[in-house]
Subunit: 253 residues, 3 copies
Amino acid sequence: MADIHPTALVSPQAVLGKDVQIGPFCILHEGVVLGDRVRIDAYCELGVPTPLADGSPLIIGDDAWVRSHSVFYTASRFGEKLVTGHRVTVREHTVAGKNFQIGSLADIQGDCTIGDYVRFQSQVFVGKKTTIGNFVWALPHVVFTNDPTPPSHVLDGPTIEDYAVLAAMAVILPGVRVGRHALVAAHACVTRDVAPFTAVAGVPATVLGPTRAIHRRDMPGASAYPWPAHFRRGYPEEICAQWDTEFAGQGAA
Amino acid sequence: MADIHPTALVSPQAVLGKDVQIGPFCILHEGVVLGDRVRIDAYCELGVPTPLADGSPLIIGDDAWVRSHSVFYTASRFGEKLVTGHRVTVREHTVAGKNFQIGSLADIQGDCTIGDYVRFQSQVFVGKKTTIGNFVWALPHVVFTNDPTPPSHVLDGPTIEDYAVLAAMAVILPGVRVGRHALVAAHACVTRDVAPFTAVAGVPATVLGPTRAIHRRDMPGASAYPWPAHFRRGYPEEICAQWDTEFAGQGAA
Amino acid sequence: MADIHPTALVSPQAVLGKDVQIGPFCILHEGVVLGDRVRIDAYCELGVPTPLADGSPLIIGDDAWVRSHSVFYTASRFGEKLVTGHRVTVREHTVAGKNFQIGSLADIQGDCTIGDYVRFQSQVFVGKKTTIGNFVWALPHVVFTNDPTPPSHVLDGPTIEDYAVLAAMAVILPGVRVGRHALVAAHACVTRDVAPFTAVAGVPATVLGPTRAIHRRDMPGASAYPWPAHFRRGYPEEICAQWDTEFAGQGAA
């Protein structure tokens, strides 16, 4: 049984899974398909229609939690366990994997591809045609751009490979590829490709060195990267077991 | 006939043009004048009263579209065809020309002068007393400041001339003038005036060279600037015809 | 008598002081305690429950004004005369002093300690465990970070001492201490401690010199810092009288 607040406006065409919760003052348009146990908090608008969509609905998988004041357009698709902050915006034609976490005020412009277990923190901006792998972190105020000579008709979104970490207020320029397990420092402007397992910093960003040379503060002498060797909060057991093997012996003092 | 959602709270003193649409959960205060065919989406609050206003209303011209969760104060004025993203804030005493496009989460502090066909993308911050010409672009997270020695009583907003482009996360310092057709690169901090047709980058920003030396990605050998030589999306035919003459032969390979 | 808009949803367990105003479409959960004459504008949600809280309520002191679309969790506490912009988010376990002003779209992640008369402007992001003194200014898009090697279990928020000023888009890295009366220039990335009365700029930030060498624009030859020698807007008389003594003879031409 869905638990729909009496002030919410829910289209009879919206498709709701089992035990869905819809908060006060929400608006669900017709192009919405919610999985089981999805929770939508107050003032959210889901399934905003747009001529840029092709008639396909917004699909949000099981066990999602969308916090208040968020806006999702039609024609995007999220795997299970989506979690958002407040006032998130997601436009059409974005496909994201499971357990995507989107921080407050993040703005995803659409036409993006996003892997599993990705973490965006607050006020991240994602231009169209951005491609993001699995286990990527984007910290507050990170911006992904896509037009090399604005304004133009070129849409050349960046590509962020698995496990890469982009620290606060980093800007990723169009067409740039950030390699697996790379680290972009806070306030960096990344103008060219970053090699895997490499740290960059500055405006424009230059190479600091291999990420393994960066040490943990809570275990002196141990490498902070690759981070899955020591950081596990919020990941399921089967992923952690896999990481135990894959990153064995790394990150130790 | 206005189409007002039954949940909207509309002051009987608000002045609505023909065929206006007011979405669910909107609030229109008394100091609001909307042109014909204006569309206001859900959760917007228009005409927020403030002692800083002089009793003059918020005026939004014909054919505007204000997306959800936006907030406009009294005593600002917009020409026809305003288009906003979600959660835009505009305070009092801002005057903007026609076809102004404001991205999601933009925050315009008031007392600003903005020309025709200006484009702000997401999360742009505009301090008081900023002056912006026609056809200017400000990309995501651009910030216009106004206090040279904060905090002080000096309000010295920057001036951005026609056709200038400010790329993502650029900061424009107080009193700076960015010349016609200039380009400010992503993540630049502009501390002094930028000459017309000049590109700058860095923190603090230094001159890269003339903008005409920057080439298009979709037509090698052709200049990307001045951009109206090749980029026309969203501008009316009469403007494009004028640009055909004004920028003839520029931007070709 | 409280003035509660008929569309507002107010828990009977919420504790409201005298002459409180609650705007349209607000939601007040049970864990809310509001002082006298508090004004909450439209679309605000107060007392959002979270398992991270310990059962203690959100407490907002007398004479506060929370502007529309803001979200406050339980288990935070604000002194008298809080003023917010629109769409502010404050999570649990933040304690702030009196007359705190928070700009629109600011996001305070919780577990922060904030002094009296602090001013945050728009889109400021405050990571957990940030410590901020009295009379501090953070201008638009300032970001306080807390994880030296993201992602990790270390939460090492920065400390900002009394009267420090952080200009637009400055990033303060984890564990950094910004000294009393220091100035961080716009777009700086502060990677190490800043001495009191010192100005820094750049990415990474380097020392510009003593703040007293920076002159006012409205009184040539006079120092702009320490700013309380000449800037008084919005501070109560008893504070200004104290500053007359403490900063006598400083800031004069």
